[in-house]
């Protein structure tokens, strides 16, 4: 078995695509229409374009438990997904400049430094730098 995709729940796929590509810097890899409203929409990191794909998954629109779970995590401030970066402080400064809102500013956590931001799609995302 091989890990090829991980999903992130979003309420609006086009909005999510814009945020994840224009602000976070991911690259669109696959865009396949599923039906009138949904797409199989995946992203990859610029430095690992053959690596794991991130699926912008519209489950909260169609499956109530998914929406409830996403809302509960968001409300409690929990990030369900995290991305590695070289330098959390630099990424924090860059994203603040793009009006991204953080619930946790860069914080040392022993062997790592973290920060948490709102992806505007219903999720908290954690950035991690290995110190």
């Amino acid at each position: 078995m091989k890990v090829t995709v991980i999903s992130i729940p979003v309420r609006d796929q086009q909005h999510a695509l814009d945020f994840y590509t224009k602000k976070l810097g991911f690259i669109k890899k696959l865009d396949i229409p599923i039906n009138e409203t949904d797409r199989w929409l995946t992203l990859v990191s610029p430095e690992d374009q053959d690596g794991v794909q991130l699926v912008l998954e519209p489950a909260p629109l169609h499956f109530e438990p998914s929406r409830v779970y996403q809302d509960a995590l968001k409300e409690a401030g929990f990030p369900y997904t995290q991305f590695d970066v070289e330098n959390v402080q630099e990424e924090y400064d860059r994203l603040l400049g793009l009006d991204v809102e953080f619930s946790v500013a860069p914080t040392d956590m022993g062997t790592v430094k973290i920060a948490v931001f709102d992806d505007t799609c219903g999720n908290n995302i954690q950035l991690v730098e290995y110190l």
Binding site: A76, G77, F78, S103, M109, G110, T111, V116
Partner: protein, 128 residues
Amino acid sequence: MSIYQQHLENYKAKKFANQGQLDTIMAVKYHIDDHFQEELNLDVLSTEGFVSKFHMLRLFKKYHGQTPSQYLTGKRLEKAKELLKTGASVTETCYAVGFKSLGSFSALFKRRNNISPKEFQKRATLKK
């Protein structure tokens, strides 16, 4: 303060209460980062961190989730990829990152990446 922020504070207070241990184990990690191309073993690393080797091994696993040896291997393979992308030969890369045997390096690289170093380099070059 959100539930997650409380969780972070509790975790940090519990997990990283011993600053001395953390400093020691980070010093060992940084030593691996700076000297991965050299011959490193537990004796050298424990000397670096001024702790007994078995204590260092336990601490390293506790804080980094893997043994120093596993971390070192990962670091060498990560650096090998960087070198291969710049056009260095497989043999040059193997020795430059600290492996002692070309056969072992190639086999390990393939096992971890499902692709040989040569093929990895070919694909990386094609993308440029």
